[in-house]
């Protein structure tokens, strides 16, 4: 029994880290642009495909170290996704900046469709699932009577380190401070001498890079990626962001772990629960939106003055 619970805890920390990385993007974009960027799920998907391409290239180049390949997958998918996110912002979201929320939302759905269909059409065998490269997928070690999976432990540590790095960036640096100020009052930030175009671009760099990392993690964990896997992740990342209070960066950091805990508990406690876990995530989303729309933490809605 004890072993099962430890295993469930490890499971929820693993996928929770992934959701958190996606949720931070949602909450950052919403903060600076009041945009719910549903194309962010596709950025996650592109992160996975970038990782796959890196693994293929590494094989061609004869790189054998699994750890090095995983490292390269993370680095390249961060870079590729950061650039793609910034391009989305520049060419899709900037023209509609300041327009009604619905127009921005529909724009993000359209961008998402374009990206998803492009991968389906133009990636080799894009419509089919692709086996992902995961060198340590069957390696585990025993801690007492608990069996721990190397990949999972690695992913937990990676996501914690990244989330902590984001926390430091947001809380302690000029760049992060400018992001928070822009989130709270864009015009006031401009009058303080902040170039909000640069802040918004930085925000898309950061959020999209984290989405790309999550895409690679997803592949390493589930061993398979598909062109249409972004949508479900978008809903889950969005749920995590809403649970933490949309726009509240610190909230998103724990929102992902809450969503993951709900999923894992449903699987563990309800017979045949794994078939219904997404239903419960959606219920959580609806519940929070109805009863605590500003998130389980107090969201930054209170205005001074």
């Amino acid at each position: 029994m004890f072993e099962t619970w430890i295993q469930q805890l490890v499971n929820s920390l693993t996928i929770g880290g992934m959701y958190t990385l996606v949720a931070v993007g949602f909450t950052l974009f919403f903060g600076v642009l009041r945009l719910i960027n549903f194309a962010h799920g596709e950025v996650f998907m592109l992160g996975g495909f970038t990782g796959l391409v890196v693994a293929w290239l590494a094989e061609d180049l004869g790189i054998e170290s699994g750890l090095l390949i995983i490292f390269l997958m993370f680095v390249f998918s961060m870079a590729v996704c950061a650039v793609i996110g910034a391009l989305m912002e520049r060419f899709a979201y900037r023209p509609v900046r300041g327009m009604p929320v619905l127009i921005m939302l529909v724009t993000s759905l359209a961008v998402g469709i374009v990206v998803r269909e492009a991968v389906k059409e133009f990636f080799p065998e894009g419509a089919n699932p692709h086996a992902f490269y995961s060198p340590f997928k069957y390696d585990s070690f025993n801690l007492g009577s608990v069996v721990l999976d190397y990949t999972q432990i690695g992913l937990i540590l990676t996501s914690i380190v990244l989330v902590y790095a984001v926390y430091l960036l947001v809380a302690k640096t000029w760049v992060g401070r400018a992001m928070r100020a822009t989130s709270e009052d864009l015009d006031a930030a401009r009058m303080m001498g902040i170039d909000v175009d640069i802040v918004i671009r930085n925000t898309f760099f950061l959020g999209s890079a984290l989405g790309g990392v999550a895409g690679v993690m997803n592949g390493l964990l589930y061993l398979s990626i598909r062109f249409d896997m972004g949508w479900v992740m978008a809903i889950k990342g969005f749920t995590a962001a809403v649970v933490g209070g949309l726009g509240n960066i610190y909230g998103a950091m724990f929102g992902g772990y809450i969503v993951a805990a709900v999923e894992v508990l449903v699987v563990a406690l309800i017979p045949e629960g794994s078939r219904y876990k997404d239903v419960f995530v959606f219920l959580l989303l609806i519940g929070v939106l109805v009863f605590r729309p500003s998130g389980l933490l107090r969201a930054p809605e209170q205005k001074v003055g």
């Binding site: 928070r180 006031a188 009058m191 902040i194 205005k303 001074v304």
Partner: protein, 267 residues
């Protein structure tokens, strides 16, 4: 208080007009703010005072005219909003616009952004020069906050939303001063304050002025205007209807008419 006639012009509005879909919020406005003075703008609600401030910060595009700043007479309307602070202008707002979830100290640091050049990558790796810059900025910010004694300093790591109303107003002023601007724009600095607090703000404005900042303020509180302003502009319907010392302007028939109607002006 006698105005210094020899002082240079710091800010000049020339034939400035702002048309909001048929409403002339600012209408052919020309005026000059002199360096080293405290200048006040008075006028009824809707007379274009705040619109004028928003045009100075280039939040709106002007329909016509220009706003020239400094000895080099740079047209502020050619600059994007975020570059205006670096020219040497900072403002407060009629309705407070602090960043409520940033700490008191961070609110001041944000206002110093023009003086810090920190890119995305350098923020990630934090080179030594940037760390030094951070430290210097923080020291300067604390020094600025100290102009209000312990009132703001003691709260410097609390979110701005936890401050009392009067202290929030003080923080807005501190935030203004932090970027060392040549011209400070104050939009109704004592709105919602009681007489004691108003007296405090009068002293604050005089202290800012003594430090060498030129001040342009919008105010309805005539006690404050009388107490601090070297020169007064009266606005009505988006244009300047009178200018001079407080006494001249407050007794000017056009001003009395604007505030109280035609009948009162005849007496």
């Amino acid at each position: 208080m006698a105005a210094d006639q020899t002082a240079a012009t710091l800010l000049a509005s020339e034939a400035l007009t702002k048309n909001f879909g048929g409403v002339l919020a600012v209408n052919d406005l020309s005026l000059e703010v002199r360096e080293g003075e405290i200048t006040a703008i008075i006028g009824p609600n809707g007379s274009g005072k705040t619109t004028f401030f928003n045009l100075i910060m280039h939040l709106y595009d002007a329909t016509s005219g220009q706003i020239l700043f400094g000895g080099e007479r740079r047209n502020l309307l050619d600059l994007p909003t975020h570059k205006i602070n670096a020219q040497g202008l900072a403002r407060t707002f009629q309705t407070l616009r602090l960043f409520p979830n940033l700490t008191v100290l961070e609110n001041v640091l944000i206002a110093m952004s023009s003086h810090v050049n920190a890119g995305f990558l350098s923020a990630l790796v934090k080179p030594k020069s940037l760390r030094q810059q951070d430290k210097d900025a923080e020291e300067k910010a604390l020094e600025t906050l100290s102009m209000f004694g312990a009132r703001l300093i003691s709260m410097c790591n609390e979110p701005a939303s936890s401050l009392s109303y009067a202290n929030r107003r003080r923080l807005e002023i501190a935030r203004c001063v932090a970027s060392q601007p040549r011209l400070i724009l104050l939009d109704e600095p004592v709105a919602g304050m009681n007489p004691t607090e108003t007296r405090g703000v009068i002293e604050d404005i005089q202290r800012i002025h003594e430090k060498g900042h030129t001040v342009l303020l919008i105010e309805h509180d005539m006690k404050l205007v009388e107490g601090v302003a070297h020169r007064v502009f009266a606005f009505d319907h988006g244009t300047k209807i009178a200018e001079g010392s407080f006494r001249d302007v407050s007794t000017h028939p056009a001003v009395i008419e604007a505030y109280l109607g035609k009948r009162a002006a005849r007496h």
